[in-house]
């Protein structure tokens, strides 16, 4: 009797735990099925090769160019910054950490507003007039993506460096490497998969950026129209078919990035 009661409790517990999982996964799948059902092939082909083709391909190209540039910059900053964060203890470490995480956690709109405000200051205006204009331009998109993506890259790349034990470097040093050689010959190759995974996720994150671009660069058709902006513009004029097609492209991009990330054994935070 007692054994069967215990068994019943155990199976009830498992039932509750697993149903939580099923609820979550089921919800996500249901949303995607809804999109897929709503979208038929003619609408999709219309967007890709028909009436909407110019706009679709413009936004795909713009997204590809800006996010790739953003990713390259973010990784170039993120590798040294992530390594430094992973290896060295800084004074006010928690404060430093918080500052880095802030752009990821803040509502994306805030990043856009902050950028606008900055380029309204004397320093910002000087940059606009003497170096390169950012506000409401295509290069501004890169900057708008970079604010969250830069922090995101530092986080994921730090996780990649964390996975390489400092003893690797100690041994490399005792075998005759100086600090620089130990980094390039041992740490970097050891962290390679994690670094690539981090870059891929940074890229996906940048591709999905919307809020800062909307605020900082505006949503101008055929000018600052990245994929998420294009979805927004088409929804707002009631072209649901076009918006859905672009959404599907975004979903496919995100799913591929995640798959690559998982396949490379990437870990760390994914906001």
């Amino acid at each position: 009797m007692r054994a069967s009661v215990r068994q019943a409790w155990t199976s009830l517990f498992r039932y509750v735990v697993v149903s939580g999982l099923l609820l979550l996964v089921g919800g996500i799948v249901a949303i995607f099925i809804a999109i897929a059902l709503r979208l038929d092939i003619p609408t999709l082909s219309e967007a890709l090769v028909g009436r909407g083709r110019a706009e679709t391909w413009f936004s795909i190209k713009l997204t590809a160019v800006t996010t790739t540039t953003t990713t390259v910059i973010a990784v170039l900053i993120g590798i040294p910054a992530g390594y430094a964060l992973s290896r060295y203890r800084f004074p006010f470490h928690t404060l430093l950490d918080t500052i880095i995480d802030l752009p990821i956690v803040l509502p994306p709109l805030v990043a856009g507003i902050a950028l606008l405000v900055f380029f309204g200051t004397t320093a910002g205006v000087w940059i606009e007039e003497n170096i390169i204009p950012f506000v409401y331009t295509q290069q501004g998109i890169i900057l708008a993506q970079l604010v969250p993506a830069g922090s995101f890259a530092v986080r994921t790349l730090k996780a990649a460096f964390d996975s390489v034990h400092p003893r690797m470097e100690h041994v490399a040093r005792s075998l005759g490497c100086n600090e620089r050689q130990a980094f390039f010959r041992v740490v970097l190759p050891q962290a390679r998969n994690g670094l690539v995974a981090g870059a891929v996720m940074t890229w996906a994150r940048a591709a999905g950026e919307f809020g800062p671009i909307l605020m900082f660069c505006g949503a101008t058709k055929m000018k600052t129209e990245t994929l998420p902006i294009a979805v927004f513009l088409n929804m707002s004029v009631g072209d649901i078919g076009m918006a859905l097609s672009l959404t599907v492209i975004l979903v496919i991009l995100a799913a591929s990035a995640l798959l690559i990330f998982k396949a490379l054994g990437g870990r760390g935070y994914l906001w």
């Binding site: 034990h165 003893r167 690797m168 100690h170 041994v171 490399a172 040093r173 005792s174 075998l175 005759g176 490497c177 100086n178 600090e179 050689q181 010959r185 041992v186 190759p189 050891q190 390679r192």
Partner: protein
């Protein structure tokens, strides 16, 4: 020769508190101590991974205290070997040689010689992840030895291996370091391992070195209670020494003749369990050794030896080979004589540690 003088280092919960150590060229020194004694910190400070807070390290008379690891020519093999998993075993062994830009023929010759000695020729093209623990350890050893370091530091090189591999590797270690004349500091917590390999043993505890000496000295003439216990001396008896007669009184009415001078009137007597013999209750006394009357209380079969507990005026632990025990034909509850040679009665200052 490597010399560590007054080494101090605070590193979280581990620390060195004034370590002095001298290792001659070609010597194999084992640093023995319980977990948390600071053995690894000592190795890492010698390797240059951490710099000393105070004190200095000399290598062949050169002050290397503030040199980075790559300028010390000291090879360090950590407990988990740390072969570089992104390159083949061959590339791992070549690593220090390529850094030093040696010609390829020379590199090949060195790798081949080491691989042959360590029996890893067939594994050279494999990735470290596909190798067993013992194979990885030999690979790491080959890599460390490839640059002919002035000093080889081994951190618990045998502790993660299974028994058979451990025995093999002990032999490799002894052979290759002997062959190459490598100076070694080997850190471990197992005194069997130390006895197998060491020219000298240093026992460490709480960031200090308590005793350094040849294995026999450390084993049979410990300089304090902790050292005696750590090296497996179970028989520790408080006693009063009588210098005039060269005896020590332990227990109510047991007086043992001793082989050495007492450090003071109040002593702690240490007798190793394998130094005590047993004989039957009716055996004649030839008077050459101390005889203590006792009752056999328990017998434990430990495989290579039998561990016997004796009760009487003093309690004693005795270790006999299985043959010796069976030849004696005694069983639990029997009266026996414990036979203790005077030179096996080691006296330490009772307050010392």
């Amino acid at each position: 020769m490597i010399e560590v003088l007054g080494a101090h280092k605070e590193l979280g919960e581990f620390s060195l508190r004034g370590v002095d150590l001298k290792v001659e060229d070609g010597e194999y020194l084992v640093v023995l101590g319980p977990t948390g004694a600071g053995k690894t910190v000592l190795l890492e400070c010698i390797a240059g991974i951490h710099y000393l807070d105070k004190g200095s390290v000399f290598l062949h008379g050169r002050d290397v205290t503030n040199l980075p690891p790559e300028q010390r020519n000291i090879a360090y093999v950590p407990q988990d070997y740390v072969l570089f998993s992104h390159m083949s075993l061959r590339r791992n062994i070549e690593f220090p040689l390529r850094l030093r830009k040696r010609p390829q023929e020379e590199i090949n010759a060195i790798v081949e010689r080491l691989a042959r000695t360590l029996r890893i020729e067939r594994l050279l093209e494999r990735r470290p992840r596909t190798l067993s623990g013992g194979e990885q350890q030999r690979g790491a050893l080959a890599r460390a030895l490839a640059s002919s370091p002035a000093l080889l530091l081994l951190d618990e090189p045998l502790s993660a291996l299974d028994e058979g591999t451990r025995v093999d590797l002990t032999e490799w270690l002894a052979r290759i370091t002997d062959e190459l004349g490598t100076t070694v500091i080997h850190v471990c917590h197992n005194y069997d391992e130390a006895l197998d390999l060491a020219d000298r043993i240093a026992v460490m505890r709480d960031g200090r070195i308590l005793q350094v000496g040849p294995p026999t000295d450390v084993l049979r003439r410990p300089q304090g209670e902790f050292l005696a216990r750590f090296m497996g001396t179970q028989n520790l008896l408080p006693g009063r020494a009588d210098e005039a007669s060269g005896t020590v009184r332990v227990g109510e009415n047991t007086v043992l003749r001793t082989g050495a001078e007492a450090p003071g009137p109040s002593v702690l007597v240490a007798i190793r369990p394998e130094s005590i013999a047993l004989c039957a209750a009716d055996a004649p006394d030839d008077g050459s050794a101390n005889r203590v009357r006792a009752t056999l209380a328990t017998v434990r079969d430990r495989g290579r030896h039998m561990l016997l507990a004796l009760e009487g005026d003093i309690a004693l632990t005795v270790s006999l080979t299985p043959q010796a025990f069976h030849a004696l034909a005694v069983s639990v509850g029997d009266e026996v004589w414990a036979v203790i040679p005077p030179e096996a009665v080691h006296m330490m200052a009772s307050d010392g540690d």
